[in-house]
């Protein structure tokens, strides 16, 4: 492989920003261009459903206000103008990429501009999944993905307003919590019998439902949205045959990966851009990271498309290394947080396929950590106000430490200590890694 001299990043979110910083930190001194469809400088998404939605942070990111010169802005904006200037990173904002012409070494934009690049990182993220029962033109139906979405939604989260939320996943739950914090009435409609049921199971999901109820959020569980009508005064949502009237409907039912650029470029996609453990796609010199990437995770032995801030950041750093010829896999356990009401929810690992749940603390008191085991091995952990336990679990999972369930349940056992003392499971078999290697 010839030395890379020009790198283009398609997408301008968390992964793009981390990749640019990582490339410069590693001493890459060639051209870096970041192509973003939005007009804003790269910004963090986690605050958009939490503190930014609640009270904003100042600055719109499109001009000098996005320079990140004060701490509030630097909370949101990832690549301030002065940093880009000092590090010679070019942002092409408000421009849409259509495909990568890997043979010619260029990214094609919608306006027919060709951005030359001998390595490309695809970090196009995702877009909200739409409610099929609602017209996209509805002014009172909101989705939340972008900074502009958050600014529009904030206008609706007023004291006394009735906010209906479709979907009790993390975005829906955070919007509900923020709306309550702003004095709105909130009803959450969720088709499953408990929030986060597929991820956490019924017992822990029910505890999450209690967290909502304890904070005055009404839940309508086990009913799917059947229709949405806009009226002069608001919106009427029918679910389970029952009508709920509100001022606004916020839909949080997941995202669809923006893998069209990759597909048009002849890159293998399957609900996301398929990558190996090094974030390499099926086409040489093209890499993918973040929400759009369906990455082979060596620790869990399968291809997973994660939608977390932390994995996007770490994958981007790994992709930056891979672009420069390093062979370091992204194999950290997943980790994410969700601040809801005054509670800190955190999750580590990958609980899919777990066959045993061990609870430490009290589900009833909403002060617990749930550990998810598969064939006796710790695979995932979810806690409410148990950041220390989730930190330790993340470490235990990453190191494949074998921890007796009794120790997990025992509040007197220091889990952080076990992270250096418990026996380690042998390395995963080679064939598992080979399966992920598509390059």
């Amino acid at each position: 492989m010839n030395a890379v001299t020009r790198i283009a990043v398609v997408g301008a979110g968390q992964a793009a920003a981390v990749a640019a910083r990582a490339l410069r930190r590693r001493g890459f001194d060639g051209a870096i261009e970041i192509i973003g469809a939005e007009a804003h400088r790269p910004y963090q998404r986690p605050p958009l459903s939490k503190e930014f939605l609640a009270d904003g942070l100042g600055g719109d990111g499109s001009g000098s206000d996005g320079s990140g010169s004060d701490s509030a802005d630097s909370d949101l904006f990832l690549l301030p103008a002065d940093w880009c200037e000092a590090n010679d990173v070019r942002l092409r904002l408000g421009q849409e990429a259509t495909r990568v012409d890997s043979a010619a070494g260029a990214v094609e934009l919608a306006d027919r501009t060709r951005v030359p690049a001998d390595a490309v990182l695809i970090a196009t993220g995702g877009r909200p999944r739409r409610l099929t029962t609602s017209a996209t033109s509805d002014a009172r139906v909101h989705y939340l993905r972008t900074l502009d979405d958050a600014l529009r939604l904030r206008e609706r989260l007023l004291p006394g307003a009735h906010v209906i939320v479709a979907g009790a996943g993390f975005i829906g739950a955070e919007v509900a919590a923020t709306a309550r914090g702003r004095g709105a009435e909130v009803t959450v409609i969720e088709p499953r019998e408990a929030p986060l049921l597929p991820l956490l199971g019924a017992r822990v999901g029910t505890a999450c439902a209690e967290l909502h109820r304890a904070n005055g959020t009404r839940l309508r569980l086990g009913v799917a949205v059947e229709s949405v009508e806009e009226t002069a005064a608001g919106v009427v949502v029918t679910a389970g045959g029952e009508r709920t009237e509100g001022d606004v409907l916020v839909v949080g039912i997941g995202i669809v990966p923006n893998d069209e650029v990759a597909a048009r470029s002849g890159i293998a996609v399957a609900d996301g851009v398929i990558t190996d453990e090094y974030c390499r796609t099926s086409v040489p010199n093209i890499f993918a990271a973040g929400d759009v990437a369906r990455h082979f995770h060596p620790l869990f032995g399968e291809r997973i498309r994660a939608e977390h801030f932390d994995s996007a950041s770490r994958q981007a750093a790994v992709a930056a290394g891979a672009i420069l010829g390093e062979a370091r896999a992204y194999d950290d356990p997943y980790w994410f947080w969700s601040d809801q009401y005054d509670a800190s929810l955190q999750y580590a690992g990958h609980a899919a396929g777990s066959d045993e749940i061990v609870i430490r603390g009290s589900l009833e008191d909403l002060d617990f950590c749930a550990f998810y085991l598969r064939r006796g091995m710790l695979r995932g952990a979810f806690g409410i106000d148990r950041g220390a336990e989730v930190t330790a679990a993340r470490e235990l999972i990453g190191q494949r430490r074998a921890v007796p369930p009794g120790a997990l349940a025992d509040t007197e056992t220091d889990l952080a200590e076990l992270a250096s003392t418990a026996p380690q499971e042998p390395d995963i078999p080679q064939e598992a890694t080979a399966r992920g290697n598509i390059a």
């Binding site: 947080w337 800190s344 950041g387 220390a388 930190t391």
Partner: protein, 133 residues
């Protein structure tokens, strides 16, 4: 500088010299024995909540409220010698307060040990952080 206790021979004495010797009064804030059960103890210093950690045989003092979102470091974890915030898992060097992979610094305090007593200098230390790529 006054009221600095004499340094006796102590197997748990902090050994690293301070980059800048802080001025001001040293306050006796805890007994070393109190830190041994949970490897930590919360103390109040001039109206500010400070968390003492016993890590690798040394005592460190950090402001309790995390510089990021004010979550209490007292409920955090010690991993590989770093203090991990329970809120959003920012990792801090307990000596300098420097956040791992970030520009921010957690305010820290100088600590001295003498005859099983823990002394703290109430002046916060926030090291200079250069700009970072």
């Amino acid at each position: 500088m006054n009221a600095i206790p004499p340094m006796n021979e102590n197997p748990l004495a902090n050994t690293a010299p301070l980059a800048v010797e802080p001025a001001g009064e040293w306050l006796q804030v805890a007994e070393l024995a109190e830190l041994k059960r949970a490897n930590r103890k919360k103390v109040m210093v001039a109206g500010t909540s400070v968390i003492l950690f016993l890590i690798g045989g040394r005592v460190f003092a950090l402001r309790e409220a995390c510089v990021h979102k004010q979550r209490p470091l007292s409920k955090g974890t010690i991993l590989r010698g770093k203090v991990v915030c329970p809120g959003h898992q920012w990792k801090f060097d307990p000596e300098t307060g420097q956040a791992e992979d970030r520009d921010e610094c957690q305010p820290v305090y100088a600590v001295r040990l003498d005859s099983g007593h823990v002394y703290l200098n109430p002046r916060e230390r926030v090291p200079d952080t250069g700009s970072r790529v």
